[in-house]
């Protein structure tokens, strides 16, 4: 038996289950006559179906992070932090409901603008035999220039 030669910090196998399943379940070849059989026993394992575009929390976190980074020095006059905090909180409470209902729309707009840049829908050019069960997920291209075009939800 040959022994694996560790090289260039290459891992021999993916560590995450999602990556393992991507290889052997999602991308493995389906033998036509065996479709019924090949489904035997697989209840496990749904691939990570996370649909995260971005949440309001994300935006707030980013805004907070950059504010901390570059506006911190002039943030609050000393001596009144508690009062100002209360005032801001009170003001925010009033705004919250309206703001958050507006947020969904804003987030949607942001999402569609993120996903609107589908400049090269080149999946049709792949010209394969249609064997891949997941060709709709694929975005094969020579360079990542079209990475943005992948930003759309499945289906």
């Amino acid at each position: 038996m040959t022994v694996a030669v560790p090289s260039a910090n290459r891992a021999p196998h993916p560590s995450g289950l999602a990556d393992v399943l991507d290889l052997v379940l999602d991308k493995g070849i389906v033998i036509d006559a065996y479709v019924r059989l090949s489904l035997v026993g697989i209840e496990i394992l749904t691939l990570d179906a996370r649909v995260v575009i971005a949440s309001v929390d994300t935006y707030l976190r980013f805004a907070e992070a950059v504010n901390r980074l570059d506006i911190q020095p002039q943030k609050q006059p000393e001596g009144l932090p508690g009062l100002i905090g209360d005032l801001q909180e009170g003001g925010a409470k009033h705004k919250t409901r309206g703001a958050l209902s507006g947020v969904k729309e804003t987030a949607k707009e942001a999402v569609s603008s993120l996903r609107g840049g589908d400049e090269d829908e080149d999946e049709s050019s792949r010209g394969d035999g249609g064997r891949s069960r997941s060709s709709e997920h694929r975005s094969r291209r020579p360079a990542p220039a079209g990475r943005r075009s992948s930003r759309r939800e499945e289906g």
Binding site: P12, Y34, A92, A99, E153
Partner: protein, 252 residues
């Protein structure tokens, strides 16, 4: 019942790696004409677990040392060796053989790249585009966050372009493994189809990237069966024909 792992050349040696199921069966090659299937005996009603998925992949990776492998979908079983030969190999040879030969001398390498979000945000805040007034209310804060999210994604896109741009020159083909949809997503999830001859160069390029970008996390995996490239119909690596001797190890 026999469990099928992948399609190989008929003369492909059996791997030492045990198969899946309990107890794990020995993996052997069932052949018909020019092609063969790596199989092992399994019980009826085999339940398939996470461990089995990993075992399946380990068998494929072991097989790959001795020549091209077409991975079969997890959970492919036949009632008997004869049925596997008849229904899979005899019926499929016209389709399977060219796809197998197209993977001769090439392997899949996967690269994941992640940035440190806090570091990327700091880099963005330091750019002219990242300048902003302090938001006065929640709406303005969210708007700022969205603006930063856009800049963050553009920043990661730039990193991804650079990495893939460099590595694609050393690969026969490459493809995104995961969609990048939003600012919570990583820099890169990519698969490269690389000629075995070019593996040392590819390793070197990864080492250079790691050294140049110490603040990025690179996860580099392979060689793997070319699962993301099984639909290639042309022979990708005919140049590699002289390095692959058919009966020896590919030697990485």
């Amino acid at each position: 019942m026999v469990y099928l792992y992948g399609i190989v050349r008929a003369r492909h040696p059996a791997p030492a790696q045990p198969g899946l199921g309990q107890p794990p069966g020995e993996v052997r090659i069932v052949t018909s004409g020019p092609i063969g299937a790596a199989v092992s005996d399994v019980a009826e009603d085999l339940p398939i677990s996470e461990d089995d998925a990993r075992s399946h992949l380990r068998v494929l990776v072991e097989l790959l040392r001795d020549g091209p492998v077409l991975p079969l979908r997890l959970g492919t079983v036949a009632s008997s060796e004869d049925e596997a030969r008849r229904e899979v190999l005899d019926a499929g040879v016209g389709d399977l053989l060219p796809r197998l030969e197209a993977l001769d001398g090439v392997v899949e390498l996967q690269l994941d790249v992640d940035d440190d979000e806090a570091e990327s945000l700091a880099a963005i805040a330091a750019t002219p585009a990242g300048q902003h007034a302090e938001p006065m209310d929640l709406d303005a804060t969210i708007e700022l966050g969205q603006q930063i999210a856009g800049l963050l994604m553009a920043h990661r896109q730039e990193l991804a372009d650079e990495v893939v741009g460099r590595l694609s020159q050393l690969s026969v083909d490459n493809v995104a493994r995961a969609l990048i949809r939003g600012p919570e997503d990583p820099v890169l999830r990519w698969a490269f189809l690389v000629r075995l001859d070019d593996l040392p160069k590819f390793d070197e390029a990864i080492a250079v990237l790691r050294a140049e970008r110490p603040n990025l996390a690179f996860r580099y995996v392979g060689p793997l069966p070319a699962a993301h490239f099984v639909d290639r119909t042309e022979v990708a690596a005919h140049q590699a024909a002289d390095t692959f001797r058919g009966d020896g190890s590919w030697g990485w």
